[in-house]
């Protein structure tokens, strides 16, 4: 699998506070839209949350704004799901911290197009 940046489990940068590298898997349509192949690796301020990871994703790939979270409300779009470390994080608050396995870099944060037919 190729990634758009080599993953490291974590890193700290001087000056602007600690960051964590979070691996993100996007559904095919959004990879095409963002012109990425494989996983996206993001630097997210510690402690990384669902919301901060998605904000970092949108910062890296502005074309994804409005496709995962609604523009105005910042709510998850109805047919998008978030999975990580075997858990469904779709219905928890955006402020929820990502699982340890994601923070360590062992597991990706996965954005999924829900099974909705069509």
């Amino acid at each position: 699998m190729t990634v758009d940046e080599a993953p490291r489990r974590s890193a700290a940068r001087g000056g602007s506070g600690a960051v964590v590298r979070v691996r993100v898997v996007l559904p095919e349509h959004l990879r095409t839209l963002a012109d990425v192949h494989g996983e996206v690796v993001l630097e997210v301020p510690e402690p990384p949350t669902i919301g901060s990871a998605l904000a970092a994703l949108e910062g890296r790939h502005p074309v994804l704004r409005g496709t995962i979270l609604e523009h105005a409300t910042r709510r998850r779009r109805a047919f998008v799901r978030f999975f990580a470390d075997g858990r469904d994080l779709s219905h928890v608050a955006m402020e929820t911290e990502l699982p340890e396995a994601v923070t360590r870099g062992d597991e990706p944060f996965v954005v999924v197009g829900a099974m909705a037919g069509g």
């Binding site: 559904p27 349509h29 959004l30 839209l33 074309v63 704004r65 409005g66 496709t67 995962i68 609604e70 523009h71 105005a72 779009r77 109805a78 047919f79 998008v80 197009g113 829900a114 909705a116 069509g118």
Partner: protein, 372 residues
């Protein structure tokens, strides 16, 4: 003319079909944006290489794509359609108040004189404008804030602003149509709007069949040489106005059904118009299983069936409101797409038809550019 470029939006992507000047050889390119619904693509009259496309899915929402090179390359541009101020409510199907919520862009209408200016008709019904090539969008909120707005309600396909008609002789005038609210006109560039529905009758659909608003207008069209003459395919009834929408009269005449979706005007003959009769509002297919385009050379009332090359048995497709278009070649060519994935073309004003592609996903829109 060197040829035509046919822009086809479908349920699962867009296609560009290039035709030569004779319109007998076709090259199908696509799908573009595969897997996404493309409700509409349209090229700028001021720069045919500038094309806008509305791309959406239920999963990932709305995108707007822009091409600066005739569709060879595309760039996603702005996709934030924020209603201005407090969005307010409109009527829901059950009569309750329902908050205005953006769902998708149905129609893109580039300005006549500026490739960077483009209008977007959206669901829930509102009109947006971009003056920077689609990068940012701003609502022309005077329409939604028309005094009747709280009474608008969705048609079966949603409460969509699906038609935008620009008046080439009066830059400040435009017409829009909403299902199911009706036709509105602005004479000040979109600041204020007037309902233009006098003469429409919606028996059985409205408690007052002649109400000012609430009519399910499916599409309107005009010829640029006579912008005061408007033609309309309403839910039921084909209508005509000779005074810029001030009053409408029925011109369904001898049509086998006056239900339908698209209506188009011949490029060179302002009294020649085309419709595709559909059996009924629940039976969305041609009467008798015969796919027939009807042409009137008298601006309505007297219609002739155009059938040569079209299936005349066992045809049960629909032709949606934005899925018919004309080119500007001589003689005028006319094109339409079906929910069965065929795109038919006639290079002789509708006398003879040929499928230029047969097996696309369901066709949502067809536009044609006549290339120099």
């Amino acid at each position: 003319m060197s040829g035509v470029r046919v822009l086809v939006g479908t349920r699962k992507g867009a296609f560009i079909i290039m035709g030569d000047g004779k319109r007998d050889r076709w090259d199908v390119q696509g799908p573009l944006f595969p897997g996404w619904e493309v409700y509409h693509l349209k090229g700028s009259p001021a720069d045919p290489n500038r094309i806008y496309a509305s791309q959406s899915t239920g999963w990932f929402g709305q995108l707007i794509q822009r091409s600066n090179d005739g569709g060879a390359n595309w760039t996603p541009v702005g996709n934030e359609f924020a209603y201005e101020g407090v969005a307010g409510t409109h009527q829901w199907y059950d009569g309750t108040a329902h908050p205005w919520e953006f769902k998708r862009v149905w129609h893109l209408e580039p300005a006549l004189d500026d490739p960077d200016t483009v209008y977007a008709g959206v669901e829930d019904a509102a009109l947006f404008r971009s003056t920077d090539g689609g990068t940012s969008w701003h609502e022309l909120a005077g329409l939604r804030q028309h005094g009747s707005g709280a009474q608008w309600q969705p048609g079966a396909g949603g409460m969509c602003l699906h038609t935008i008609v620009l008046d080439p002789s009066r830059p400040q005038r435009m017409f829009i149509a909403i299902s199911a609210a009706g036709v509105f006109r602005t004479d000040d560039g979109g600041a204020t709007w007037h309902a233009m529905n006098r003469g429409l009758r919606s028996e059985g659909a409205l408690p007052d069949p002649e109400a000012d608003v609430g009519h399910c207008v499916h599409r309107i069209a005009l010829h640029p040489s006579r912008p005061d003459v408007l033609y309309m395919q309403k839910h039921w009834d084909v209508m005509r106005s000779d005074d810029g929408g001030g009053a409408w009269s029925e011109v369904s005449g001898n049509l086998p059904s006056d239900f339908g979706f698209p209506i188009e005007v011949h490029a060179h003959e302002p009294e020649t118009i085309y419709v595709v009769p559909i059996k009924s509002d629940s039976e969305h297919y041609p009467p008798e299983g015969k796919l027939r385009v009807y042409r009137s050379r008298t601006g309505g009332n007297h219609w002739e069936a155009l059938t040569d090359g079209l299936p005349q048995e066992n045809c049960f497709v629909n032709v949606l409101r934005d899925a018919m278009a004309v080119d500007r070649l001589e003689p005028c060519g006319i094109y339409f797409g079906t929910t069965g994935g065929q795109v038919y073309a006639s290079a002789d004003e509708g006398d003879h038809w040929t499928p230029i592609v047969r097996d696309l996903p369901a066709v949502l829109s067809v536009e044609v550019q006549s290339l120099p």
